[in-house]
Symmetry: C3
Subunit: 319 residues, 3 copies
Amino acid sequence: MMTSNLQLTAEGKLKHFLTPEGLSSTLLTNILDKAETFFDHSASQVKIKSMPLLRDKTVVNLFFENSTRTRTTFELAAKHLGAEVVNMNIATSATSKGESLLDTIRNLESMFVDAFVVRHAVSGAAHFIAQQTASHISVINAGDGQHAHPTQAMLDMFTIRQHKKDFSHLRVAIVGDILHSRVARSEIHALNILGVKEIRVIAPKTLLPAKIETLGVTVSHDMAQGLEDIDVIIMLRLQKERMSSALLPSEKEYFQCFGLTQNRLKLAKPDAIVMHPGPINRGVEIESQVADGNQSVILQQVSNGVAVRMAVMAMAMLS
Amino acid sequence: MMTSNLQLTAEGKLKHFLTPEGLSSTLLTNILDKAETFFDHSASQVKIKSMPLLRDKTVVNLFFENSTRTRTTFELAAKHLGAEVVNMNIATSATSKGESLLDTIRNLESMFVDAFVVRHAVSGAAHFIAQQTASHISVINAGDGQHAHPTQAMLDMFTIRQHKKDFSHLRVAIVGDILHSRVARSEIHALNILGVKEIRVIAPKTLLPAKIETLGVTVSHDMAQGLEDIDVIIMLRLQKERMSSALLPSEKEYFQCFGLTQNRLKLAKPDAIVMHPGPINRGVEIESQVADGNQSVILQQVSNGVAVRMAVMAMAMLS
Amino acid sequence: MMTSNLQLTAEGKLKHFLTPEGLSSTLLTNILDKAETFFDHSASQVKIKSMPLLRDKTVVNLFFENSTRTRTTFELAAKHLGAEVVNMNIATSATSKGESLLDTIRNLESMFVDAFVVRHAVSGAAHFIAQQTASHISVINAGDGQHAHPTQAMLDMFTIRQHKKDFSHLRVAIVGDILHSRVARSEIHALNILGVKEIRVIAPKTLLPAKIETLGVTVSHDMAQGLEDIDVIIMLRLQKERMSSALLPSEKEYFQCFGLTQNRLKLAKPDAIVMHPGPINRGVEIESQVADGNQSVILQQVSNGVAVRMAVMAMAMLS
């Protein structure tokens, strides 16, 4: 769906960030390295460094779907870079007057803005906006339908590198509702580009897309077998609305088959880390003791999200 | 309804901006000249210059009606001037506790704010607030009922001057629902003050106020006749709710009689410009080919709105 | 419920501000003195001084209940101190995905924020967050259930000191719905700590908590008797929903018994001041002529609220 060059300038620099798909290992690594520069480890309390790289730039948070966590980290990231931020919850505003997406974009770009951070329920929305918008504007995909969530994937890559240093020897398991997950799709692309040894998806057949193997993953339908030799476990949030849609029997049965418990965690490598994009459903896809346990890096993911989003915005808006 | 001196300081400077009515040609021209100073034409991409003229000032966006576009340009304009901005959507907040408008204003002015940007469904609301508020506070009308929308009128004047230089020889047509349009009222006042040769309103009789000629306009009920010799065409948005109110037969019939098509556009002067306050209803009051065509300056209006609102805020808050 | 040391650092400085209860007279006086430093009386128009004491700090306004006035003064206060502010209306966001309060807090603190300003319908919510949150984060209670509203109490203390200089000789009446009022509870604690001569609560029996005398107040059920010798009258807002709950007969009867009229005001000392936390119900608990009269300091309370909240944030976040 995505052509790599739409995301890059003629010189090969990042212009839009829509999906990891089609980007080089070097570019993804540059994002991780850039994000690292925003951390201040000098004090006892790790901090984020504010750097006015985007002074006099304006970022529009264009959220057609609600998302407190993602919107807030983008807002904080932009402000730490000195940009002005305008939050637009489009679900409740312009489109209520029946204006088309394209007219909304045309109007906003005429207000001298420099970037759109876009969350939309339709797959391809950010891609469409990047194709249509003025050439000086950058588009950052903050989640489009079931397609991609590239900054979530990159903050996950940052977290993995933080704990495991090198990607090449890693076996990574992604567990849960792969079928509906833009997070899983972007993670699979990023992990393959960064060259992990194996990506294993663990899910019931009803929650796996057809021909998932073609994305470069191995498949397991069983947690005991699937977690063997795993270095990194990424649990996905189970959307409760799937329950009523005949894809799943019940929360309880799902937890019995695919929930990550302390006992199951022992089946992975002893130093395996546990990740989750949040918000977590305690007792549905993950046991509280695991979510809060010492192998969990879930809250580090949130922290890393601020720095990774700063990196992506700075690189795209200054390319 | 509006006395000119409420808008002016004792020295005749702009204090509040509630309506163009009663203001001098010199003052309106000063607003346009001031707006021009905020553009930076030095780079290939035209930019807005941030200037901290309002540092340590606080602007409250007091929106009793929703308006993404207007609210956002005021917010951006205030931030470009270095002001702090607080957005208040009053429809959903203070008044839910039953507080009167006057008590809301008294409370906000006690918080050391310097300006109110007011959008309200009731004609005269901004005028009332300007009369009642503390003497150091400026009130900018961002649209009150069917009365006035002065910054919209001034960004339109800016756009006309940008393309036509001099107002004195111009014939301007305003087409559509004049009856319900605060934009049309403020445009008619501003165009007359700036001394255009003719303002022609083109509309069905049901969408014209009684005795509209007393505002200094000529009237036409026919597009073919009405567009003759016209330099500037201002199309108004057709509120779809008018359809059901027996004022209009149908969208289709309206478009056939008063929609601006490429063929009809040829009836005006060859260098006529096409304007619209937005959001546009494609295929209702304007054909897409015209809205997106090379005589359309609709998106330039949006850009000019940022600079014009900066000018109005800077002049009123520093007078 | 509250242990004093949760609010203090090991050195006895303010860390969180959850309730006046358990704090020393010296500390409360320090807050008032600090607030005074933010006023600029040099010009004809009193102003608030912006001071970048909290530059590079981030404040999250975490409002689980709507409150335009309180949220706006905290937002303005934080911005005047140079902090970045993120507004989160949690009622409509994260918890709609079913995340627990604790998970919400854990996530936000991972985003490198420095303070939570918390408004919550449940008594003890701010206290719970202060107990649970990371050690570098300050929690400011912006109202929790019927428990405490300490910044409101401190802006009231500031306003009283402004007019009456010394607390030790004062008789203060608090009139109205004591039973449901977090404002009243925090005022009673603060007034006792600062050593007023008498706190008199005036209310019908149905709107008084059991054993209210144990808080260190005298009780009256009669306005004529209760207002005698009073220096400061604090009127409470009557929540209209109490009417239907059998606690009260009618608005009209309440006003006849406990409303503050011009005639009743004459029963207090001639220089008594009239206060109200707002928003006021004109004609329910207070007559308009009194609310707008020259003994009313209600709008000064609002102004003082900005400075007092700046003081509390600066002290807590820099301790």
